[in-house]
Amino acid sequence: MSNKKKIVLAEDNSTLSLLLKFRLQKEGYDLFIAADGKQAIELIEEHTPELILSDIMMPYISGLEVISHVRNKLEMKVPIIVFSAAGQEEMVLKAFNLGANDFMGKPFSPNELVIRVKRLLSS
């Protein structure tokens, strides 16, 4: 049984997913990648991660629905960081209302993301 902390990353940009997976694995985390919100929910239910990283705009099920599912249906208190693009400020507010813990506006620095992940997982 691995002691690594599990992170589910929901992001439809496959290149970005791969980059973040590589970066976070280097930091010692166990990454599960979802290309859309539907896959994200499946991975969350299957692995019960310690942290969720989710893009807001995704195919099939949006990041907001993922947050809502995690907080309201699964009743998990796992920290959630959302990614948003410029012009999605209202979505970010909705994400916070639904229970997101932090957000990062795209384009963001992977180094900064690592800092935030560490901070959330250590608190």
Binding site: S14, T15, L19, F22, P107, F108, S109
Partner: protein, 367 residues
């Protein structure tokens, strides 16, 4: 053989019209068969290309991520990274591969910043992708030129700005648009210099795109917009008015007041709207004295301004217009009167049985 001869004989005996119908039917049938075969081949090729594209995309994604994390120092290229660059140099000589690599790099660079983004910009130069983009600028087809500019913008290639500036007057709209986006994306407010002598019209969509780009920068120190407010190109003036409002260019007020004398009515309306936003009172005298010569849109805009800045001295002018035939002006006039002189407004109330404005007054009373 006999069957064939029988068919031929039968055909020869047919009336001419039936023969023609037969010939046309066979020709159409052959054509349809040909088209079906062509579509089938086309679909197979498209699917094959798509599978190949997905496969190459995955390969390049992996290569790219390995490249990005292969170096310890961002300023130096490691041996492993050099090997990747050399491999890519060979790969990208094929257009198909080059397009996929550029797409993968663009996809990533749009979503990340910092050291990783800088490393991708460097890779773009080192692999020679930059040369292909620069070659595109010399293409005859407009869409190729536009895609070249787009790539140079995405990978923040600043030193070729002189080449791009030449394209700002390109006859095709999309090329001009991409050139403008390049300049503003990479040089922020300084990039707007092209507005100084822009001859073509800047569409509403272009203006929105430029404003959106400008707003994403940390440095919001805008350059002087006076020259654009005085431009002979109406679309440039319209854009400058938007800048004046978004960036609170109160210092350009004198030029804005001059614009009230402009020949273009729509521009005058937009100027009044900006002055309304600034709560300007200086323009009132001019607008009042020219009220009857103004268009209805200007009059409505002026009354909106008055709703913000009306004083007791405006009372006579407002009363003059409480029976204005335009409903919006009539409503604004009554609202203003209620604000600056409630007694007089109540007097109107006494007489409201005799006035057409009865419903308007009641509405204002309750709002």
């Amino acid at each position: 053989m006999n069957d064939y001869q029988n068919i031929l004989e039968y055909f020869n005996q047919l009336p001419t019209l039936v023969k023609v119908v037969w010939v046309i039917s066979i020709a159409l049938f052959t054509l349809i068969l040909g088209l079906i075969a062509y579509l089938k081949i086309l679909r197979i090729n498209l699917r094959r290309n798509e599978i190949k594209r997905i496969k190459y995309q995955e390969i390049y994604e992996e290569h790219l991520i390995n490249y990005l994390y292969a170096g310890d120092n961002i300023d130096e290229i490691s041996t492993e990274q050099r090997e990747f660059i050399n491999k890519m140099k060979k790969d990208i000589s094929i257009e198909f591969n080059r397009n996929i690599l550029v797409a993968v790099m663009t996809k990533l660079v749009n979503d990340i910043s910092g050291e990783v983004a800088t490393a991708i910009y460097k890779l773009y130069t080192e692999t020679g992708l930059i040369d292909y983009s620069l070659q595109k600028l010399k293409a005859r087809k407009w869409e190729i030129i536009a895609s070249g500019i787009y790539e140079l913008t995405q990978f923040e290639v600043k030193h070729v700005y002189k080449e791009i500036e030449k394209l700002i007057k390109h006859p095709h709209k999309e090329v001009r648009n991409q050139a403008q986006l390049y300049l503003v994306n990479l040089f922020q407010f300084k990039g707007l210099k092209f507005l100084n002598d822009l001859e073509y019209q800047l569409s509403e969509w272009n203006q929105i795109q430029l404003l959106e780009i400008l707003q994403k920068f940390d440095n919001q120190e805008i350059t002087d917009i006076t020259i654009w407010l005085k431009s002979t190109n109406i679309s440039v003036v319209e854009f400058a008015l938007k800048l004046a409002k978004v960036y609170n260019q109160f210092e350009s007020k004198e030029t804005l007041l001059e614009l009230l004398r402009h020949d273009n009515k729509e521009l005058k309306v937009q100027t009044i709207n900006v002055l309304t936003y600034f709560y300007d009172t200086e323009c009132k005298t001019y607008l009042k004295s020219n009220f009857h010569q103004s268009s209805e849109s200007e009059q409505i805009a002026f009354f909106k301004l008055l709703e913000n800045v009306a004083e007791n001295s405006d009372e006579d002018f407002v009363i003059e217009n409480i029976s204005h035939p335009n409903f919006k002006i009539k409503l604004a006039a009554l609202k203003i009167l209620k604000d600056i002189n409630p007694d007089k407004f109540n007097y109107l109330e006494i007489a409201k049985n005799n006035t057409d404005a009865k419903r308007i007054i009641e509405f204002i009373e309750h709002n």
